[in-house]
């Protein structure tokens, strides 16, 4: 992946543009003058402690929340000017682990990603079924089409969610902690799939995550948020540093180079045993 400039045209090509966005609900200020630009075709992560406003930024992009001030643009157009259907064609969303009570079959669920391309009543998008199958193939879940979602493991459910988002055929993929609650193997699978998707399709990927090493390893560009503000931005290697992480999380980490790629990996700083468990 490497240089984040690789995919875009190199200069002003941004898929997502957030400028000076503030949002207050009641007396609490959720976002405070947030600006971020996401290069077309890049993999960009938003890091930050819980409550830093990361998910709220995603909600602004999805048009679920209207900022009190500022501008949100998707593919060069104000997000408010899109109809919901048009926005869905530009931008797909993968949530945190899907509620286990959802009992659609895998194929039905992925087909629901085709909403923006279908008509009303019983109209079924025939072409869409091919797209859905293709998406399932890409996440290696095509053998599971008739399984009910609630019978799948968390990792498998997440892969199906990714397939549903891919079936939406949008240029931008937005993910909210896609590997939270997954065991190491499952989250590794999800990460691998996403890297593959980014590599092969050139999608713009914007992810909110707590997984620092995943961000360090796979992402081109990183924004750090704290208390509703963007406090750090840059290449992953510029933001995921000892100082950067201390500023974001108020905790000391140690950064060591990955044995294969030399990318900086995050490990816990050795704890003072005397001060630790007492």
């Amino acid at each position: 992946m490497g240089d984040y400039l690789k995919a875009g045209s190199g200069d002003l090509e941004y898929s997502i543009l957030v400028e000076g966005v503030s949002l207050s609900i009641g007396r609490s200020r959720l976002l405070d003058d947030v600006s971020l630009k996401v290069k077309r075709g890049s993999m960009t992560a938003i890091l930050g402690a819980n409550g830093a406003g990361k998910t709220t930024v995603l909600k602004c992009l999805l048009g679920l929340v209207k900022p009190s001030s500022g501008r949100v643009e998707v593919n060069g157009r104000d997000v408010n000017l899109y109809s919901r259907v048009d926005l869905a064609r530009e931008l797909a969303y993968v949530p945190q682990l899907l509620n286990a009570s959802v009992s659609f079959t895998v194929l039905d669920f992925v087909m629901m990603g085709r909403y923006a391309y279908e008509g009303g009543f019983g109209y079924q998008d025939k072409e869409g079924e091919g797209v859905a199958m293709d998406a399932l193939q890409r996440v290696d879940m095509s053998k599971f089409i008739d399984r009910k979602l609630h019978t799948l493991s968390g990792g498998e459910r997440q892969k199906v969610c990714l397939a549903a988002a891919l079936a939406q055929e949008s240029e931008i993929l937005i993910l909210d902690e896609p590997s939270a609650h997954l065991d190491p193997r499952q989250s590794e699978e999800v990460h691998r799939l996403l890297a593959g998707v980014a590599e092969s399709s050139g999608l713009t990927i914007l992810t909110v995550t707590h997984d620092l090493n995943w961000a360090a390893m796979d992402y081109d560009y990183v924004f750090g948020m704290k208390d509703g503000r963007v406090v750090a931005e840059g290449l992953a290697s510029e933001v995921i540093t000892c100082d950067g992480l201390r500023a974001l999380f108020g905790v000391d980490f140690t950064i060591v180079p990955h044995p294969d790629t030399e990318r900086g990996m995050v490990v816990p700083t050795v704890r003072n045993r005397e001060g630790g468990i007492s």
């Binding site: 999805l62 109809s83 509620n99 009570s101 009992s103 629901m112 990603g113 909403y115 079924q124």
Partner: protein
Amino acid sequence: MKGNVKIWCLIILALVTVFVTPWLGERSIGFDVLARPFTMGVDDLDAVIFWQIRVPRLLLAFLAGVGLSLGGVVFQAMFRNALATPFTLGVAGGASFGVALWVQLGLSFSILGIGGISLAAMGGAVFSILLLYGLVRASGKSSPMTMLLGGVAISFFFSSLIMLLQYLMDIGDSFRVIHWLMGDIGRANLDSVLQVFPFVASGGLIVMYLRRELNLLSVSDEIAASRGVNVDGVRVVLFFAVSLMVAGIITVCGPIGFVGIMAPHMCRLVFGANHRVLVPTSLIFGGVFLTWCDTLARTVSVSSEIPVGIVTALLGGPFFLWLLFKHGERH
């Protein structure tokens, strides 16, 4: 069994219901009445009972079952809770209150051919929804559980208001309201069928049209919005469609409980969660279910009949408990 086979079984069940139940009853009637559909007067008692009592009753029960079942499907999807129905969410309470108020005030007028009492039920239903929705919007607390509890509270609130009105009424009006509250299809005639039909048909068409939206709403609001659903708009339309159906039914038949929980849940177990299939099958099964409940209500006791609301609740109560304790956790 494959999906198509199951659907054909349901269609056959519906046809059997429609063609068999009119022949069930205290008085046995020969097939020859089919040849005398427009008999008037009491000379031909068989034809009168068949065409003017049993057939309208079948149609009304079926229509009411359709509407109540669809109301259940819609609310269960929107609130993502298997126990949500217009009844648990206070819509029926509101409609009942509207009717009680109407009776108490002794009003009588109609607008555009719609009876005033229907308008009162509709007004009550819409008011209860706006109340709940307004509270949710104002507080920002829109978790399905909060809405459900809010609906239950609104239901209780309206029940007390109805009791208060009854307390103030004279005995005749009060009995009218009590009998109405039991839920009864015994008053069916062709007029009542024609009165309910437009409500169920228009509400039903809206729900049929919005099946894909129901699928997405049943997953989560964020998912629905990100796939392209205008969540707030669709929600309002669905609320409106359900109020329309429930108010139309409730005015004529009174509040008939549990159909909205039982029919959709049975269909979900048999046909799965996809609303493309769930909506039409619940629609048919709701009609079938209520028709059989009503047939039971009018045949089980020899000299009189039980209001159908009692039968559905007697069947529905244990089913509700089973649902709650067996599947409650997952929902």
